[in-house]
Symmetry: C2
Subunit: 538 residues, 2 copies
């Protein structure tokens, strides 16, 4: 198990202090003096409004400390990993932030949280504090009975209650708003992995083809084991189940990421939602963002709350906590047409049998060498050098009837644009630059020299850097006073010389030297083979 932590037992305290030192938690403070009391609270709190406290086990960051700040929570009580905070910690939070306006505790429906928050509330009342408590049970995985868990929908409840408190509502009104939000909120999770709570001996219960639907955020097994599938299928599994629990009318959907999902995939989940039939029921979207995570779980959860004026007003209000990702109308993708781009073929096609033969032969050489060059590249790079040259060749062959073959200048210009547009990889663009520059000169010999100089300038590589320039430099020099045959020989010598060169440009620069030993640069090798191939017909 490779993870970033010093010790399981110190991680929560270190995480909280790190958060308070971070640019997203710097407006907060914490209570000090007890090793087992972790309470994060607003620094600017003056007790003039109803305080909102939430909390629970840690391991769900940014929940709950990340949602402390003007407009949401007043304080968060953080337990150990996946364990309820103790009564003293909760009581300390209540005593610290509760003024005459009172305090609302927002508690997720787990036995430990119910008991500790409940007992703390009792003790606070004995001490004269006006405390109310609501229990969030949004998870529909086990049905909406008394044992439904509180999961990501808790954040929606915190946002609604936080807004009402901010508007100076009474404790009764804030509690009612929270209760309304709780009644309306449903959630469901889906994950490709379970969670490892820093147990080096942890064995996952899922194999490579298994995922879970209806899972909790503390490592409880999902209610349904499902097959791993394409994103759209997985999103359907979750959305189709959730939709059956929606009340009539339109909804706000919150997309919560569970911890280990890359940002790109989180964004793709939104697009998958848009393609799903649930999209017809969604008027607003919150996220995607990690809000109620489960450490390193590779999953997401969907939460829904009905579109009602009071909920929307509350959810749209700006808040201080950075972890809140805002809300937006759902069907709002705007596009603009791509501006007109220069035409590729601006010259009349013209014919020249020799040039046509030369180009056809050159393209064939590169296509024939595709696998060979890929294999060479695979030893030191990403293994696509051959395909890049072959693809460029195929593009040229396909368009050969549209090329102005009779004019070297027009041909170079057109090839430059064609390659810029259609050839992949660095080598395609480098050749495009060479042709485009060559096309600006009257003499094609001088043109090729000028093109080489531009390749060097844009690409940043010099002679001896182990790139295709090491074949092109000698070949084009030989061409100035010689023929294709001499150029081919010079290219071959240049390519062979790269076997002994250290890499100083491109991807190979990151490969250990020993690994490069005696392998020619695939780009230089391609140039040598190309020239050798076409010199045979000249």
């Amino acid at each position: 198990m490779k993870r970033f932590y010093n010790h399981r037992d110190t991680l929560v305290a270190e995480g909280i202090d790190g958060f308070l030192r971070s640019s997203t938690g710097h407006h907060l403070c914490r209570l000090d003096g007890h090793a087992n009391i972790h309470v994060v609270l607003r620094r600017d709190w003056d007790k003039s409004k109803v305080a909102i406290i939430s909390g629970g086990g840690s391991g769900h960051e940014p929940a709950h400390a990340g949602f402390v700040g003007k407009g949401m929570l007043t304080a968060a009580v953080c337990g150990a990993l996946f364990a309820s905070p103790n009564v003293d910690a909760i009581l300390a939070a209540i005593l610290e932030v509760t003024g005459d306006a009172g305090c609302l505790l927002i508690v997720k429906n787990y036995t430990g949280d119910r008991l500790n928050f409940g007992l703390a509330a009792e003790q606070a009342r004995l001490l004269g504090k006006n405390v109310e408590l609501v229990i969030v049970a949004d998870d529909i995985a086990l049905g909406r009975g008394p044992h439904a868990r509180g999961i990501a929908g808790t954040v929606l409840v915190q946002k609604v209650a936080g807004y009402r408190a901010e508007t100076r509502a009474s404790l009764a009104e804030v509690k009612q708003a929270a209760a309304d939000a709780i009644k309306g909120t449903v959630s469901l999770g889906l994950s490709l992995s379970d969670v490892n709570v820093y147990d080096p001996e942890h064995k996952t219960r899922l194999n490579e083809k298994e995922a879970e639907l209806g899972l909790g955020i503390h490592g409880e097994p999902g209610t349904e084991r499902i097959s791993v599938d394409k994103l759209d299928v997985l999103v359907s599994k979750a959305a189709d189940t959730l939709v059956r629990h929606l009340t009539d009318g339109q909804h706000v959907i919150m997309l919560n990421m569970l911890g280990a999902v890359p940002v790109l995939e989180a964004q793709a989940v939104v697009d998958a939602l848009y393609r799903n039939s649930i999209a017809d029921r969604i008027d607003f979207l919150i996220g995607p963002a990690p809000m109620m995570t489960s450490l390193d779980m590779y999953g997401f959860s969907l939460s829904a709350i009905p579109v009602r004026a009071n909920f929307i007003e509350a959810l749209q209000s700006p808040v201080e906590p950075w972890a809140w990702p805002g809300i937006t109308p759902f069907r709002d993708l705007q596009t603009r047409p791509t501006p007109s781009l220069p035409e590729t073929f601006t010259y009349q096609p013209s014919s020249d049998p020799y040039m046509r033969n030369l180009i056809t032969r050159g393209a064939k050489v590169l296509i024939d060498n595709e696998k060979d060059l890929n294999a060479l590249d695979a030893q030191i790079g990403d293994g696509d050098a051959g395909s890049t040259f072959a693809e460029a060749s195929r593009v040229i062959l396909k368009e050969i009837d549209r090329l102005p073959l009779a004019s070297p200048k027009e041909l170079c210009e057109t090839l430059g644009r064609l390659l810029a547009r259609n050839a992949g990889g660095s080598s395609g663009v480098l050749l495009s630059i060479m042709f485009a520059t060559a096309g600006q000169e009257k003499s094609w010999r001088k043109g090729l020299e000028a093109g080489l100089e531009r390749m060097h300038r844009y690409g940043g590589a010099s002679a001896g850097d182990r790139t295709m320039l090491d074949a092109l430099f000698p070949a084009i020099a030989a061409l100035q006073n010689g023929n294709l045959d001499q150029a081919a020989k010079a290219a071959r010598e240049g390519a062979d010389a790269t076997r002994a060169m250290p890499a100083r440009a491109g991807r190979a620069a990151y490969v250990p030297k020993e690994q490069l030993k005696n392998i020619p640069d695939p780009g230089a090798e391609a140039i040598a083979r190309l020239l050798e191939g076409i010199s045979e017909i000249s």
Copy 2:
């Protein structure tokens, strides 16, 4: 490989559209009409200021599209996964957003990006656009030579340039600001994993004990393979290397997360930085946040830029993109003393040999049964039921001389507070609630009944829900007119009956029914064993 995607080739387009539909990208739009052109841009852009364009391969989200918006980028050009965008895409972006004030391209130092952005800039100039280009090479892993890569520090350059453009600076001034930021910025990455670019056959190059320092963001191997270690050691490895590349004076540090690290661990990294000697060189912190990720890489990078008035002014200015996590002075953790909590021992200790014997014996029974009850719990829960009871027992034994043993009422009250404060787990709090309530009644028999009712109310469990209540209900009923012996028998029958009960509360409620078969509830079993144990001495 379990990941959220439909197909490698469609992921980038789906991710971009998802982002534009999300609550964090809804203020943006994209160019439409070409399958290979992915350009995200500001919707509100009026071309009155210098445009800032950045881009590169995808797989680094939120970079770069996530940083498009007022105050930072005007547009982002997104290539395929880890592959430079093509010339047409970059050219389209330039043509769409560039007005008379001109346009700055911020390019990371990779051959593909240099070439494509360079060629696009050339073509745009031919079309009359005023375009400048800067190349970011902040990665110190390969030294600060011409082949240093552009990594997370690019975001700092974008922020500085974006601010200058927002203040209506000229293109030359914006370019100079970007060049200054580039010159000052250094970065270094550390990862526990490599990256899998959606290759189901991917084999990691790192074993379970290996990490890498000085890695790129495209899966290139790190320059140094290091041993996995505690967080503080790993942070030292990165910070000690980075510090050698800092210029004199104080710095801003940006903590970028690479993709798969849980939020809690990201926060812990900040705290580790604070303990490292590099902290003396840090005046400001940005993050932690995923800014320049590498898909699912489990790592982070540190970037540094000197504290200079112009940089700080630029970095502190508010911006529209949500992905920017703000900046904060680094040594700013504030605390408040924990408010005074009620005393545990409010009564004079008193002695009663019988009660002392009863308590000692009961505690010993629970301590002796610790392993047994844990093993029972491991089959259906998290395996700590025995430890919870044993720990509560140890606490009581430790404090037995401070207990008011001679007064049942005072004893119950004190035990309630003692357990609330020191016992872990739900069962500890439940017993605390029972004792605290019992302590409020004159008759201890009635008190125990009242306590039971509170346990039910706070815990949410009823008789038959497979909890310790199923032993306590019959035991305390038997005590009303009987003795400990009868109570023990009733508790044993109650505990045995839980073997056939479905779980409806606590963690066991999430365990499949078949798995529970014939296993008694560990809490009920503990109560039965406790009463059986102490009845022998009564």
